[in-house]
């Protein structure tokens, strides 16, 4: 059971990080569909850095930077040139898939040392819980820290409230003097960093090698996860564990010969997302919505 729980957590972490980053991006009113591409570039960057510098911790930094780089490309187009966000995001993913294939070609077939587990003194000796919660790698702790940070940030800090204001009504935010474009740039780059680190987790911990398109659609699941969590940070943890849990459950079910077809289980996360979407749109009519109202709309500051 311990081993399975650890597997579930490991599977969930890339989703968790990418979704958290995307949540902040979307809260600022920018819909970046390039998560998959940013994760891929994070993965290739991380692996390259570890091969070059030899220390897996540099992989985390490199992964984050590559994600930021991709997010900057997206920001230049959507925020400065006001291009359509959906099209640009899709374009970013396609672009990054090709670019990482090219950049990763010399890395194929090489393996790197994995990120070591960090045991937290005494706490890691607690039976069952200790093994799962306090004997993780650095990125796992980091992702929890990020979630706690952004929960506080969005709810209580002034900058967080400004960010939400920009996402909800950019014209009003602009008219009271907040730099809408700058804030969106920061939020998008933060999203890129998280997605990059999430992508980096795959070669650094899960499967220590590079192969083209190795994220295999996890970026899209992360996008669904943001909706599933209805833009509330702590729900992303729950969602990521459910998504990861179901992924593992369908594998366990097959190994043990459960009578449920594995396809039905694979379908569950997406069904849950649709249910969440329906519930959210039902609530919109009653009270103020959780969906950032300016989501996906380009901002023209000349208006």
């Amino acid at each position: 059971m311990d081993a399975l729980m650890l597997t579930i957590i490991a599977t969930s972490i890339p989703l968790l990080l990418a979704a958290t980053g995307e949540l902040i991006t979307e809260k600022s009113g920018v819909l970046n569909l390039g998560v998959e591409g940013m994760m891929l570039s994070g993965a290739v960057g991380a692996l390259g850095a570890v091969l070059w510098l030899g220390n897996p911790y540099f992989g985390i930094i490199a992964g984050g930077l590559c994600g930021v780089l991709m997010a900057s490309i997206f920001s230049i187009f959507t925020i400065n040139f006001m291009t359509n966000q959906v099209a640009t995001g899709l374009g970013l993913t396609i672009f990054a898939t090709g670019l990482t294939g090219l950049a990763g070609a010399p890395l194929v077939g090489k393996t790197v040392p994995s990120l070591p587990k960090i045991e937290i003194f005494l706490l890691s000796d607690i039976p069952f819980v200790g093994e799962i919660l306090f004997k993780q790698d650095f990125i796992a702790y980091l992702s929890v820290a990020i979630i706690i940070f952004i929960t506080y940030f969005l709810k209580y800090s002034k900058s967080g409230i400004v960010l939400r204001a920009v996402g909800d009504d950019h014209q009003s935010a602009h008219s009271v003097g907040y730099p809408v474009k700058k804030i969106r740039w920061y939020a998008t780059c933060f999203g890129g960093m998280c997605a990059g680190i999430g992508g980096a987790y795959i070669p650094l911990v899960l499967t220590p090698h590079w192969s083209e398109g190795m994220t295999a659609g996890r970026g899209w699941i992360a996008l669904a996860l943001v909706v599933f969590a209805s833009w509330i940070p702590w729900r992303i943890i729950v969602g990521a564990l459910i998504f990861g849990g179901i992924t593992i459950a369908q594998l366990v079910g097959q190994a043990r010969g459960w009578p449920i077809p594995s396809q039905i289980l694979s379908m569950m996360p997406y069904l849950a997302t649709i249910v969440a979407l329906t519930m959210i749109s039902g609530r919109i009519s009653k009270s103020n919505s959780v969906v950032p109202a300016s989501l996906g709309k380009p901002f023209f500051d000349t208006q």
Binding site: M214, Q254, R256
Partner: protein, 369 residues
């Protein structure tokens, strides 16, 4: 003066290159144009890389007598149709489409270009100008079963399959036959990944198998992720399509290696001499072109990470399969629900292998769908 020299020199160079060109085209004859369609970029392991090695053997064998074009990263489906048609338009005389999912696209394009020869790899549908080539992969899996049966301590084998199609199922059953030939207590659990290639999912499946008590892992998917997990967790496993020991030096017992080169070379030679055929014979399924260990289309890498006694048993199995002494699917065969498949004295023919939708004794669970 310098300028003048440069002019003379460039004139000379131009003349030389024109001469070379004329010479080249006059004496090299018309190279046979050969096209390849790859599912992914070749990288340096796995399914497509094995085809890439075959292509390189073709180039080495024929030199200037062939002109090879390759299209990488072609998704199975409408894109494949477009790519194959383009290759045919460019005047390729023979086109190898190297994945199962190219079956319908290949047949569709073949109809439009009756003078072009098509070779669909691992398919089962043919037409006048579409041949199919395949390897008896399952023979390697029998040896894997033998080694697994001797090496396992928990008597639990974890198997990761891509899709529940006959190709994969016959591999599992062949593995089971090998396993039960040395160890009647061991059994196989199968996890279907529902993808040929998703390293993270394959790694997850491997972790689940190990958590469920398996100590030997086998795969019919393409990434080295399973072996890497085995390496990390102290389990053992088998490489797929190419030697993967670089990824798991302590975990890989051996790898079944796909060797397409000889097949490609033979078919191109047949085309050049006008003897190309689709191999249709009395046995439609894979005809005369379904080679295995004996035809050296399937090779076995070095036996490693196992005691000499086990390596010796594995070698015996290999020799037995090559000489025909071992018949993997000889009766009596019973499926895992106890139903008789074939009585003693008879054995399954190739057609029956391609119709497999059941597990033999030694495999847990049932085939989905």
């Amino acid at each position: 003066m310098l300028k003048f020299c440069m002019r003379i020199f460039s004139l000379f160079a131009l003349g030389a290159s024109v001469l070379f060109f004329i010479f080249n085209s006059a004496f090299a004859g018309n190279p046979t144009k050969v096209g390849f369609v790859y599912l992914t970029t070749p990288g340096d392991h796995g399914w497509t890389y094995a085809h890439e090695l075959g292509k390189q053997m073709v180039e080495k064998r024929f030199g200037n007598d062939v002109k090879v074009s390759v299209v990488e990263n072609v998704p199975e489906g409408p894109d494949a149709t477009r790519v194959i048609r383009e290759l045919a338009k460019q005047g390729n005389e023979i086109i190898f489409t190297t994945s199962f999912g190219y079956m319908e696209p290949t047949l569709k394009v073949a109809k439009e270009f009756p003078n072009v020869k098509f070779e669909h790899i691992t398919g089962y549908k043919r037409s006048k100008n579409v041949a199919t080539g395949n390897i008896r992969f399952y023979e390697g899996r029998y040896i894997q079963g033998v080694v697994a049966g001797l090496m396992t301590k928990t008597n639990k084998i974890g198997y990761i399959g891509a899709y529940p199609i006959a190709e994969v199922i016959m591999g599992i059953n062949s593995f089971a036959q090998g396993l039960r030939s040395v160890n009647k207590d061991a059994s196989i659990s199968v996890i279907w990944a529902n993808t040929w290639y998703d390293p993270v999912k394959e790694a997850d499946a491997a972790k689940v198998h190990i958590a469920e008590g398996a100590d030997i892992l086998a795969q019919h998917t393409d990434s080295p992720a399973m072996l890497q997990i085995a390496e990390k967790k102290g389990a053992l496993g088998f490489g797929q399509s190419t030697d993967m020991s670089a990824f798991a030096p302590k975990a890989q017992l051996f790898a079944s290696i796909n060797n397409w080169g000889p097949y490609y070379i033979r078919k191109i030679e047949e085309l050049k001499s006008g003897k190309w055929n689709t191999g249709d014979g009395p046995n439609h399924w894979a005809g005369n072109d379904w080679g295995g260990l004996k035809a050296e289309m399937l090779l076995i890498s070095k036996f490693q990470n196992m005691p000499d006694s086990v390596a010796q048993k594995a070698q015996e199995a290999l020799d037995g399969l090559k000489s025909g002494k071992i018949n993997i699917f000889a009766g009596p065969l019973v499926d895992n629900t106890g139903k008789e498949i074939i009585p003693a004295g008879k054995s399954l023919d190739d057609g029956a292998l391609w119709g497999m939708n059941y597990y033999l004794k030694g495999v847990n669970g049932k085939v989905p769908g």
